[in-house]
Symmetry: C2
Subunit: 503 residues, 2 copies
């Protein structure tokens, strides 16, 4: 029995490795498509990717996988890793098999057409062009959610793809409180009249100096971009990996503003460290990846904001910045710190500051929930979008391009994904709270440029587990608590009241 068990387990791992090889191949070819591919190759390239994705789908819905699932579901006393693997393949199997193959293929084609329509609509700033396609994508997702099933809210079935275990019920509460707290704080900031000087943020920042500075920081963070990763340029920064020894990030430089490249470097390096820390032993288990999109985002945002926009961090790194950007010489550390944390409600999510960012996400969450449950129709979107921006952020889009059309996510039907971004903020401050208990002098260490101690804590508590635990389990294991908005709200109030001199 024990022998049969071990043989089955070895067999399963061998089988899952194929899936991992395909996933890695697809990721590498996608990376190349964005970073290197000549323009005329786009059509053939998408054929290649379509083929490889199809092969991956075949394996994850195969009879062989079903046999493994059946065998191990009847096994008792599984260790956490095997348990995690079986949960993962069962979930993928069910998800993939419940959608009729033909329908899924139609969905993929529709998504590709919808993506092109979104691009055109955004260019022309005309929601009408995108509207019928978006309607289709919503309808498909409604149907899929029904195929998959849910307990209380249809949107839960979609949330579960990206953040297993998270429900609308929970998010309504958490995001509701967070929204109110941010709006309140934002109003106080506006009333305070204390606006930091931000002229120094713009100027001339040579690309080479930006890169060198970022590399210095990422080296301290512990991202190995030399022997187990690399850095390239692309329009939108991203991280991808093929195994744990080839984790690549990209950035986009603006020579008139040092912030986009710098903070995206720190952000992506946060993702990259996570992937590099995943242990070799998780290969062939499908768990050699982050626990969820939200947990992944908690790592990148932890580094980008909690660390990278903290006073402690700049205590150490400001002299390095001064060396490379001599124009800062008349700007005090305090003014620099206040400047990079300047709060300004704006229209574009990706350009938002640390405080208002979550409001952009909450707006999308509220809208997605209404859409998927059929409580609003696609035609109403631009109005609802604009109303919510006015209500929460006090700004109003002048056109669809800077409003409802700004994000690519809905065009291929990725409903349920947006909340991960804000969840990352919540998880991040929950981890921070625990980290401060475990390492009482953590801020002092950071002030001394010791980011290794941060990295080690994250690895020991989060990274090394890969995707063994669901995010809901992981947060409980690490902090002893469930997902909560409390720490993030505290953090924001403390930080921004100080910066804006609010009592």
């Amino acid at each position: 029995m024990a022998r049969e068990f071990q043989e089955k387990l070895d067999g399963l791992k061998e089988y899952l490795k194929k899936l991992e090889y395909l996933t890695s191949s697809i990721a590498l070819i996608q990376w190349d498509s964005i970073v290197n591919m000549p323009s005329k190759a786009v059509e053939y390239r998408s054929e290649i990717l379509g083929y490889l994705s199809g092969e991956s789908y075949k394996i994850s819905t195969s009879k062989k996988i079903k046999q493994y699932i059946d065998f191990f579901s009847n096994s008792k006393n599984l260790d956490d890793i095997t348990k995690g693997t079986i949960k993962k393949i069962s979930k993928d199997y069910i998800r993939n098999n419940r959608i009729p193959k033909k329908e899924y293929k139609q969905y993929i084609v529709a998504g590709s057409i919808s993506g092109a329509a979104w691009e055109e609509a955004k260019k022309k700033s005309d929601f009408k062009i995108f509207q019928p396609h978006l309607k289709k994508m919503v309808e498909y997702n409604q149907k899929f959610a029904d195929y998959w099933g849910f307990k209380k809210n249809r949107y839960d079935a979609l949330l579960d793809i990206y953040e297993p275990g998270i429900t609308t019920e929970k998010l309504d509460k958490v995001f509701g409180n967070l929204r109110d707290a941010i709006v309140q704080l934002l109003n106080k900031i506006k009333e305070s009249g204390n606006s930091p000087d931000i002229k120094f943020l713009k100027g001339n920042f040579p690309k080479d100096a930006q890169e060198e500075f970022a590399k210095k920081i990422m080296g301290k963070m512990g991202y190995d971009f030399k022997e187990a990763g690399r850095i390239d340029e692309s329009t939108h920064p991203f991280t991808t990996n093929f195994g744990n020894k080839d984790v690549r990030i990209t950035t986009h430089y603006y020579e008139n503003d040092f912030r986009p490249a710098l903070f995206s470097f720190i952000h992506e390096a946060g993702h990259a460290i996570y992937e590099q820390d995943i242990p070799d032993t998780l290969q062939g288990t499908l768990l050699a990846q982050g626990a969820s999109m939200g947990i992944h985002e908690s790592q990148s945002r932890f580094y980008e904001n909690i660390i990278g926009k903290s006073k402690y961090f700049w205590d150490f790194f400001y002299s390095e910045a001064l060396e490379r950007f001599p124009q800062f010489k008349d700007i005090s550390l305090e003014d620099f710190y206040r400047g990079i944390n300047f709060v300004e409600p704006s229209l574009i999510r990706t350009e938002a500051d640390e405080l208002t960012y979550s409001l952009h996400i909450i707006i999308r969450y509220e809208i997605e929930k209404l859409l998927i449950n059929g409580d609003i129709s696609v035609e109403d979107l631009p109005n609802i979008w604009n109303e919510k921006y006015k209500e929460y952020l006090g700004v109003e889009p002048k056109n669809d391009a800077e409003g409802v059309l700004q994000d690519i996510h809905w065009s291929d039907g990725s409903f349920g994904y947006f909340p991960s971004y804000a969840l990352g903020n919540l998880y991040g401050t929950q981890f921070l709270n625990k980290m401060k208990i475990d390492i009482p002098d953590i801020y002092e260490k950071i002030s001394q440029g010791n980011l290794t101690i941060v990295h080690e804590w994250l690895n020991e508590n989060i990274h090394k587990y890969g995707a063994i635990y669901k995010p809901t389990e992981l947060i409980k294991r690490v902090t002893g608590e469930e997902l909560s908005e409390k720490y993030f709200i505290e953090y924001l109030n403390k930080k921004f009241k100080k910066i804006y001199n609010i009592n």
Copy 2:
């Protein structure tokens, strides 16, 4: 009947496309391994490539393929393309199926170990380290040749992999005459005492200027490196492609010598143009590639030597060179031309001049033939190698690294590949001869910088057919003659007697 035929044909094409997608994926991942991969990723990367190669092997040896082969082998009046496809898949099927699967796997593993041993041996310049591994690779290839079968000479079975239709009998005659002719001409050159001035070949050649100059030339050649290709750097220059709209080349710059990058650019662009010219209609036929290694090499060497080292070419481009490398200002075009065609027997194949290059290949051919037929043993290799170098080239390696260990090819068992390089020279001058008949003022055109006319002729006569015809058929279709050494010998005599002022 006609309908069944068309359905089968469509089915076959769909099936073969999968094989092409895998081939392209493998090529892209290998390109990345050489150009971009961080060092620690090497092991996992080889697992990915092993998996994809295995999938490709499965398709090409599948029952489904066998069914297609059987169906179409009984069909009459096939067009040339379908005929070519069936020949190709039959050949691959037989080749792959005759080797027991287990043995093939062992061979792949042995090849990988042998490759590492070769590397170490070369580094330490000690053939003994490589010897037992090379012995194994020879034995495997002997066995495989026996599995595959041959008419007269066991080595023919290996030649047939790279240059279908070519036999040892033919090569003995062709290479024998070529060897004697080159040795004779080489002796006359030595006796002539007329050595061109070559001091100007070395100096300071900034990388940017080299790149810009090469791009100018490659643009004129018709290689689209902007929208359907790209240029990168690697230790050894190479060309690879993923379809006909993503054809990439690499080079290696030496800032003290402009020749390596320049001529490798022209060489690789010759390969690249071939692949870019393959028509879309050949997708899904397995014929969307060059006709053979030798024909491919005929294109690259045609551009590198026949065009790129001709007086006509430099009539046009020398002023461009002068602009970028002002140190040439006191060197006349004639002296420049003589300098880049300087003949000097040397030890290293990849550094050989146009005249002596083929002798390096012929030595390898003669040795491979003896090895595979068991007429010499691996232990004897360094001695035989050194003797042949002394006899044909008049030079003697001081150690194994600059002798028998210089090339990677034998380490993974690629016996039968070397001849392609010299065959490229022969095909190239045969094509040249026909081109001169078709375009009497071809040299004048080249002198005017018109390389388009050359490209068009090559496309019309060679490129557009992809691998529809075997090289033996192709050369006959294009020139009306079989493979012959005659034109290359004439070409060499005419060119180098003039340069060295020999009557």
